[in-house]
Every structure is written in C-alpha cells, then in structure tokens.
Symmetry: D3
Amino acid sequence: MRLLVLNSNNSEIVTGKVAPVARAAASPGTEIVAVTGTFGPRVIGTRAENALAEASTLALIARHGKDCDAAMIAVSYDTGLRAARELFSLPVVGMTEAGLLTACMLGGRIGIVTFGRRVLPLYQEVIESYGLASRVCAWRVVESAAAYRAGAHPELDQELIALANDLVQKDFAEVIIITGAVMAGVPARLQPQVPVPIVDCVVAGVRQAEMLASLRLPKPRAGSFAFPDGREVINVDPAIAAAFAGKGP
Amino acid sequence: MRLLVLNSNNSEIVTGKVAPVARAAASPGTEIVAVTGTFGPRVIGTRAENALAEASTLALIARHGKDCDAAMIAVSYDTGLRAARELFSLPVVGMTEAGLLTACMLGGRIGIVTFGRRVLPLYQEVIESYGLASRVCAWRVVESAAAYRAGAHPELDQELIALANDLVQKDFAEVIIITGAVMAGVPARLQPQVPVPIVDCVVAGVRQAEMLASLRLPKPRAGSFAFPDGREVINVDPAIAAAFAGKGP
Amino acid sequence: MRLLVLNSNNSEIVTGKVAPVARAAASPGTEIVAVTGTFGPRVIGTRAENALAEASTLALIARHGKDCDAAMIAVSYDTGLRAARELFSLPVVGMTEAGLLTACMLGGRIGIVTFGRRVLPLYQEVIESYGLASRVCAWRVVESAAAYRAGAHPELDQELIALANDLVQKDFAEVIIITGAVMAGVPARLQPQVPVPIVDCVVAGVRQAEMLASLRLPKPRAGSFAFPDGREVINVDPAIAAAFAGKGP
Amino acid sequence: MRLLVLNSNNSEIVTGKVAPVARAAASPGTEIVAVTGTFGPRVIGTRAENALAEASTLALIARHGKDCDAAMIAVSYDTGLRAARELFSLPVVGMTEAGLLTACMLGGRIGIVTFGRRVLPLYQEVIESYGLASRVCAWRVVESAAAYRAGAHPELDQELIALANDLVQKDFAEVIIITGAVMAGVPARLQPQVPVPIVDCVVAGVRQAEMLASLRLPKPRAGSFAFPDGREVINVDPAIAAAFAGKGP
Amino acid sequence: MRLLVLNSNNSEIVTGKVAPVARAAASPGTEIVAVTGTFGPRVIGTRAENALAEASTLALIARHGKDCDAAMIAVSYDTGLRAARELFSLPVVGMTEAGLLTACMLGGRIGIVTFGRRVLPLYQEVIESYGLASRVCAWRVVESAAAYRAGAHPELDQELIALANDLVQKDFAEVIIITGAVMAGVPARLQPQVPVPIVDCVVAGVRQAEMLASLRLPKPRAGSFAFPDGREVINVDPAIAAAFAGKGP
Amino acid sequence: MRLLVLNSNNSEIVTGKVAPVARAAASPGTEIVAVTGTFGPRVIGTRAENALAEASTLALIARHGKDCDAAMIAVSYDTGLRAARELFSLPVVGMTEAGLLTACMLGGRIGIVTFGRRVLPLYQEVIESYGLASRVCAWRVVESAAAYRAGAHPELDQELIALANDLVQKDFAEVIIITGAVMAGVPARLQPQVPVPIVDCVVAGVRQAEMLASLRLPKPRAGSFAFPDGREVINVDPAIAAAFAGKGP
C-alpha cells in the first residue's frame, strides 16, 4: 500500500525527520509518500498559523493522495483532520490522534510533554475535542528550539528524559507522549531511560493509518463525514476545488 | 465606535440579511461595517468549507478591521474565532459564542435549533469547545433551505415555532437559540409565539462586541492569545501576511 | 436606562466602592441606582450568611427595582440570582456570572483569585452551577482583609499582581478574575503589570445588564424562570410578599 | 437519640405525612422531633420560595435542635443544607441527598420521578451540585397535586407505578427515586408493582442521619463547613442570631 | 441482625484488625460474622490480584451469607461488589463505597490518602466508576507497609496526620478518607490532630450495610442487578455454583 | 508473528465464529492462536459471570501466550484486560476497546448496538472506564439469541440493519459498533445497507494487537501496569501462579 505522510507546514527539515521514521515504522510493502506544504506557516506554533494550515492539509491530500491508500497528517495539531476526513475518501489519521489512541492501550494515565508554553492550550483543545481529556494526567513543557536543528541534541534528550520521569514520579503517568512531528524517532532513543512506554506519534500514525486502510470500510454516505456534495467554493487552490468537484482521492 | 461584522462566506445574500439586523441592534453611535468574504465557500455547510473559511475570517479582519473597535464573526460556526483573537488586537466575538453566553443569563437549559442534520455535529463540537455543552438540553433539526431565499417564509416560521415549543415542552428548554447567520432578525418575529426567550445571535454578537470594546482591555502579552511575533508565513493573502508582520488591526 | 446595583450585604463601604465604578463603567445615559441590604450579614463570607442574603437580594429588587430596566447583584456569590430571575420581570445578572461569561470571550483558560481559603469552595460551587468549571484553570487565595479598609492598599495590590502573574506563568491562565465586590475598580489599577486581561466583575456586570436590557426579551411564560403565580408566602418582607402577589418589578 | 425532622415549609399537612413515616423508619430508641416552618412559603415549588426557605431551615434547627443528635431536612430540595451543615454542630442531612446516596448502593442507574415540569430543573441543579448527575439515567414528570390532599390516591399511585416501570423499561433504571416530602410512605405502597427498588427519601434520610450521629465525628474546625466565627448578622430571626453567636445546636 | 464482613484476601491479620472495629461500630443487636478468603492473593495490591479476588468475594458470600442480613466487603477496592450485588439477594456494600458516600454528607471536597503509588490509579478507577470523581479534591500517597505489622505505629500515624493536614491546607479538603481495610480503627486515633472529619471506611461500611438491611427493599427483578437466572458456569467453587443455581443468600 | 485470540468463556461455538474472522483480518504472516476458556461461564451475560471470567482471561494467556507476540481478548466486555496488561509482558488488547478506538478515527459520534437490555449497563461501565463515554451518541438493544445458533440469520441481520440506520437517522451516529464476539464477521455482511462504517471489533482487535506488537515497546517498570513483583497468591490455577512467579508470557 501507499501511505501519504503530509507535513502541512513549509518546513522541509521536519519532513526530513518524519519521512525516515515513517519508513522504518511501516509494514513491509508499505510505501511512504512524504510531502511538504507550499503555503501558510513555516512551522505551526500559533492559532492563526494552525488556521491557515488547514487548507494546506486539504491541498496536499488533494494533490498527492490519488494513488494512496491512506493519509497521515504529520503535524502534531492534527491540522485539518476532520475536514480531510470529510472531503476525501481515503482514510486519514492525525499523528497526535493516533498517538493518543495507541497510548490508551498501553496504560491508563497519559503524561504529555509539549514544546513551549504557548502551544499547551492548543494541544489541550485538540485532546478535549477527541473526548480524551480525562485520560491525560499531567503536562510538562520544554522551552527549546533545539529539536529543529540538525544533529544530536543530548541536552534536550536529557531534559525530556527528566520530564518524562517526573511525570511518572509525581503524576503517576503510565505512558508518555512527546508532541511534535519534529520529535519523530526521538522516543526510541529516550525509552531506555524511562520506565513506562513512550509513544512515537509518527510511528503510531503510520501503523494506525495502515490499520484503517486494511479495514476497507466504505466512505460514509450520511452524516457530517459524508462527501460534501454540490458545494460551491471559489478562489481556492485548484486541487481543493477539484476535490470539491468530486475528483479528490 | 465602529464594529466590523464579517461574513466569512461569499454569500452577499446572508450579509444582506445580517447587516440591517446588526445596525438595528447596535447602540446609538455604533457604525456597522459589514463585509463579505472573497474566497472559499459560498455558504459554509460542511467541515471542509469551514476549514477553508478560517483564512477568510483572518483576511477580512486584516483588510477591513483597521479603523474598527471590535469585530463580530457573522458565521454561526464562529469560524476562525480563536485564530482571529490571537492575530489581532481588536476584540473579536463569534455570533454563536455571543448567543450562547447571553443565553446563559436568560435561563438554565438552552435548546438549540439547527438547519440540517449534517451540521449538528459541527455545532456540538463548537459548543463543547467553549465548555458549554452541559448547558444545552436538547437539539432540533430543520431541513429547509428556505431561509436563504428572499422574502417571507411563513412555513419555515411555523416550523421553527413548533420546534421551539417542542423544546420547551419535551426538554424543558428555558431559552432558545436558532443557529445560522441567515436567521438574523427571525427570532424577534417568532418570539410572540414562544413562551421563553429566543436569542438572536447576531443581535447578541453586536452587543457583546460593543461590550468587549467598552472594557478597553489590553491585548494579551502572554499565552496562546498573545500576538504571534516573529512567525513566518508564505503564499498567503497579503493582508494576512501584513497582519503577521504586525500591521494588522 | 436605570440599572439597579444591589449589595445584598449591609456594608455601606462595599456599596461605596461599587457605585462609582459602576457609574464609570455604564454607557452614556445609564443611571446607576445603588442600594444596600438592611438585614442579614454585614459581609457575606460563609455559607449561612449567603443563605440569609438570598432574601436580601429579593427584598432589594422588590423595593427598588420598580423603575429600573435591569438589576445587577453586586455580591460576588451572585446571591439569590436564580430566585430573582424567576420572581421579577426585569433582567438580572450576577457580577461573577457576568465576569465569567465576559472572560470566556477574552481567553480560553480563566485563572481566579479569591479572598480567603474558606470561600474558595463556595465560588467553585457557583461556577460549577453555571457549567463553567472546565474553563477555570487554577485558583489562588489571598488572606487579607485590607480591601475592606479605606484608602490605597499597595501591599495588597502587589500581592494580587504576583498571584495573577503566577497564574499566567504556572497555570497558563489567559484571563484573570479577582472575586469580590470590594475589588471593584482594582483590576484597572493592576492591569499594567499583568500580561493578560483582568476582568472587573462589576464593570462586566454593568455592561452585561445593559446588554440584557437592550434585548427587550419577554419574561419567560414557561419553565422554572416563569413568574411563580399563585404561590403563598407568609411572614416575609412586605416587598417580597408584594412581588409574589405580582406587584414586583 | 433524638432526630430533628424539619419541614422548612409552613405546611402542617406535609409534616403530618412525614412524621409517622420517619417514626416507623427510625431505629428503636430514636425519638423523632418533627417541626414545621413559621415563615416563608406554604409549599416550596419555585426558586424564589426555595431561597426564602433557606432561612427557615436555619431557624428551625436553631430553635429546635438543641437536644437533638442530628437533623434531617424534610424538604426535597434539601433547602439550606450546606448552610445548616456549616452553622450547626449537629449532623444534618437532606432527604434527597440521603435518598440519592442510598440509591447509589442499590443499583447503577437511578431513575427519578418529579412532581411538575417546573421543578425538574431545580432538582437537576441540586443533584449536579452533589456531583451525582452521572448516576441519574432519566427523569419523569407527574403533573398532579393529589398528593397534597388527604386520603388514598389510587390514580396517582397507578401513574407513579407506570412511570417507574417506564423508567425501567425504556431507560434501564435500576433504582427509582420519587421526589417530594409529601411522598413519604408512598414507595412502600408502590414497590410490589415495580421490579426495582424504590427509595423512600424520608426513610433514607432518617437512617442516614442516625448513621452520621453514630459516627460521633467532630465539627470541622477548618474549611467552608467550620463554624462561622465572629460574623455579624442583623435583623434576622433571633434564634439564627443566637446560632451565629455560638449558641446554636 | 447478622452482618457478614468479608475479607476477600487470605490475610487473617487484616481480618483481625477489621473485625473488632466492625463490632465496635455496629448497632446494638448486630452480630458481626467476619470471614477470610481461602484462595487468591494474600493481600490485594495489584490489578491481577484484584481480578482473582472477585471470585473470592463471591465464594465468601455464597458460603457464609446464608443467615446474614447484609454483607460488607472489607477490601478497599470493593472487589467484586457489583457482581455480588447481582448474584445475591442480601444487600452488599463495599467499604470504600460506603466511606465515600458517607463523606459526601460531611463536606464537599474529599481528600484521600492511599498506601503506595502503585494502587492510586486503581482507587481512582473505582471512584470514577461510582461517578464520584468530581467530589475528590486531591490525593496523597504513603509508602509504608507498617500498617500490616502488629502493634502501634506512631511514625505512620504522624505521617498520616501530616498528609491529612496537608490535604486540608493545600487542597481545601473538607473531609478525609484513608484507604485500606488495614486502616480500620486508625482514623479515630488520628482525628484529634486533624481539623476535619476522617471517615473510617469499615465503620461507615458497617453502618451503611445495617441501613440497607433496615430498608427491606426487594431484590431487583429487572435490569443488570437482577438474579442471573439460568446461566451455566463450570469448574467454579461449589458455593458459587450453588449460588448460580439459585441457592445463594 | 503469533497472535493469541482468547475466548474467556467456555463456548467453542463463539471461538469457532471468531477464529476465521481473526485469520481473515490478520496481516500476511500473522498466525492466529485461538483458545477457549475451561472454567467459569459458558457465555458471559451477567456481572457475576464477568467477574469469574477475569481469572479465565489470566489463565488462558498464562497457559497459551508463551510464544505469542500479542493477545486479543475476544470477549466483548474486555474481561480481565487491565489485569492481563499488568501481569504479562506481551501486549494485550480488548476487542471492544480496539473497536472503540478504531471507531474514533472513523467518525465523531459512535452508535452502539448491544444484545440484551441487561448487559447495556455493563458496556456503559466498560466504555466509561476508558474515558470514551462522550464519544458514544446513542445505544440500541436487540433481544435475540439467534446469533449463537449456527447458520445464517437473515432476520437478525435485518433487525441490525434497521437499528444501525436508526442510529444514523435519529441520533446522527457517524460510525457503528455492534457488540459481542459472536458478531465477528457480521458487520461486513451488513455494511452495504448501512451508510456509515460499521466496525467489526474482532477485526479491529486483531489489527490493533498487531500494531501494538509492532511497536516493540518495553513492559512498564513503574506504575500500576508494571509486573506485580513478589506477590503471594494461593490456590489459583497453576498457570496463573506461574505467571505471578515471573514465568508468564
């Protein structure tokens, strides 16, 4: 199968970190098609950027999803997830959604580490919108942009390990999630020093997307996720317009 | 004061229904600046359209909000509300948010009428995201596009009256909200035949926006609603880009 | 319009602090009628006092509300709010209710400062009863009676500023509420040193009461807020008895 | 032990129905002291009456509680419960609180029958304030004043049986509560025709009050239920004033 | 009446601590029948042990409940409570359930002390399953096995007193619960040094069980707590098999 | 990989229905090891049977899980799931847990069909314990034992189709779950006549178990899902005793 892994930002560096992790995580026979956004924010870190990137998610799937069996949004706000799930026929998962649902099968209390105080409320809103807020026991915040730089980040690693252990010790976390597409591959590196599972959301996203594709369930023909038939949109990305015209994947 | 009333859709007919109601609702001395979107959906009725219209909300405020004291999003999904509240300094309210908060002061149990089964989950998600789901006692759905046509709609009026009374009788609703910008002005017409208050969300939105403007509170300088300083966005509407560059209202 | 601002306590000093702030906050043309209770607690600070003051709220509106267009309960427990909303035809708001609903339009996470550990549970119960508990991110308690003394309170101001900033830093509060009618006017003084909006509940109460009056919605004729017709009460304040007899405002 | 059973209304007929049921329910050796209010509403059926009756609850306990070991509020809104629990040292329970907590040990899903559509929201607010809303699976409303008349009410009995069975059939209720002090003794009469337990709240209240008294726990010396020391109240019932002065039971 | 007090563990030492406290707590005329499990865990301290002990609860009631009027599960996870409530006709209460429901009548905010970090999530799940999570304000954990040793434990007592006071001071707890059957009798010893009531769950369990027995309510004949008629079980404890065959208490 | 699919009941007919569906659902290279319980209930349909079957789940994994990479509990109450997740090192999923989490990625509102009124509360408790109750929009109940008989069940199929469509029409369900291991394979048959996806929980369970195994996450070494080291259990199934002694899979 072919799995579209889309970075709705315009940050090739993040796509470059996500793609090899996605490839390593995929089942034998799964081809990863990794694409990067062409408009909107460089990196989503605010509410307004997130709003702009929703269209980017739709455009990327509309343009690259044709021969794919599923899509995984490699943006940790799961930007545009519900809209994509409605507009397209192929299954779509968000990396944070996939990570959270996977974590639900690994422990009861989920501890989360986010990058930056500013985005914490955004993640909380995402998680509440999934109805999963009661599963989250506590949060920790790292203020660091090191993850976006190339190379190893031993100091950041140590900080993440300390925070994860603190979540276990003080808040009884039984499974850990570290947000951020740029964190792809990092959990495996930290795991030996943390006594509970750390979910890599990109890995979970790839596997959950494969899982959804394997179910071969039909596109909904009723309800809020049915295809939005007969709607009129103007002055939008041509690929999105084509999708509204019924020519999307 | 000047109040920007923005219809993030491209539907002049809806703006045409909203504007006079907003003008009638405003305090003496308030000037209503009513604008309509130039890209995205004709009328938002699906998740994908709503995602596209978030940028429309940002573009309209960026372009027309300069001399305004507050903005009211005249789209009943409150499309782009949080993003606008972050990107801009002027106060922004959503019409449904304003209607709900106003309803909270008029009764305990809020009954809601929506147009179309398909959008009911979208409204529920909006209301849950405000933390107000527990105030809503029940929903009713009208399947009718009559509201978008010009002229009187006595049959639709009768149906709405019947549903509102049913909410009161069967579900103990103590205050009623009818969703949809196109419903501006309708509640006043129905009110004599319904024994509990019906909130007109456009009217509430105008008054709440005036109220926020009157408080003269500062733009947050911390947290997720502070201005998103130093962010990089590309290939977006020039007015939005200018707003990110700190030149927005 | 005339707005009744009622202090259900017997504390002229609090009324004296509330009234000028209410006047400054009101729209041009709004006359503030400030009244003080004549029985019950000097200052509400306990559950039993709050229970006694419910009748005081009813008596004050019954006696002074006749020519008023709306009433605002200037007691931060919103004492007697629902009862007043039922018994009278004029719109009634509580200052904390108004402050909370206003705060909902200024940020996502609300931080609250209360005066005294003992009353914190009372405020929590009030906020839960509004269905707004999920919007409150954290609480801080000041143990000080300085606010009830005349003159400036620079030490208390500094403590409040420190607590507000602590709510922002540690709990990601995006908007702050300081409880207590006696705090009227204080938020404006503290605001320059706090990076997120601080809502003055008396100011919000005045503006929300004006807003409700402007809507000219009918008194409910059904449900738990309809007038309690044909009820028999004995040995109560004559103004309250008159209100039950249908002669209230 | 002596158990004060207080009807905060001025309705001797209700006290007359409650007292013998309380006596029959009490343990050997428990003396029931049944008293009726002397001011406020004849029968509480609205929000404003309930507010007035809070003082009645305090006055009754202050006046009659001296030689009692516990008090049970025989008003189904549990009027004044928290205030009484704070002001007095003797244990106090509300009949609906006691009925609900007892029902929690008899089944998972609680079905409730109320008298009159108008009061349903009042009961919901009471139950939400106890944190027990999630245990209630459904409500039914009877519109009948028959219960306040003397003699048998076979028609009302049949309606109550039908509603209780409907709660079991349609809403999977596993235990039933019928609200209203005037219903004292009725559940036992209906029980043979209902396949799940029906809790008599007066019976549960008596037994829970006895239970609390048997624990001999100290009056809280901290928190919102500690005695409100040093508070000043004016122009209130002398017995209440004495209680505030530390001379209450 | 006869009250079966069952320890589903195989720990005579715990039964030895529970039984005298239960006897002292019981009403005059109540005989306590204290029994200990014969299979499964020595002491439940993990999820797997708790799962095994559910059958132990059923076996103990099946074998010893015949001449009893009620049963109280003296295991603080209330192991097997719902199953027992279904399989048997006699009333059954769990000690933690009883302690929590009793605490609800003594204060608003409940603080809980548990023994060991590991079991905290188990208690949280129990309390959430009762719908009472919102009543719990905070938790403290003691890491100590001293309670299982004979004799006095002054150091443990001091630690418990400190934690209880910390719950009062920092988290505004208004009533305290200390989990664990082995804690029977300890709360009374700590009470003088803690300013809010501490509920002894064994005492509460005995009294609530007596209370349920006194109500003489019928076994449900419908719903999920009706007797499981006509079910087939194999290779289980003979007493359990007999109970399924309708020969249980 | 080898996936243990365990039926904790003693019902070979159910295992016989589950096994081929599990095999068809599995990835290439996955071997399904299907086993059936040897003690406890024939078919779990009550609380007491469910309690007994928890040990059966533990015994089956202890005995058959040695060479397996993951286990899937093919009992729709997910009987013993958390206990198994603690006692064993191999990943364990419950079929209903897996179905629900998968459904979360297919729509917002989940509609559920259960077999028998009596078990509905049991499923609700399971789903609440996962924190997913807010995702479930409505329930329907089928009273039929046809599913346990061999051969086709066209009448039952028609009833299920009608209920699923009713959930879509009346309650806006966007994805459907039909509970019961015996329903394995049925959703695919009904799907063409239902306009939203129907999740086959056995299929989802197989795929989610494969997914978990692929993550190769470590067994928790802290918290309530760490191995229960040094615990003493007596008179239990020897395989379970061996697992407690550290010799389990």
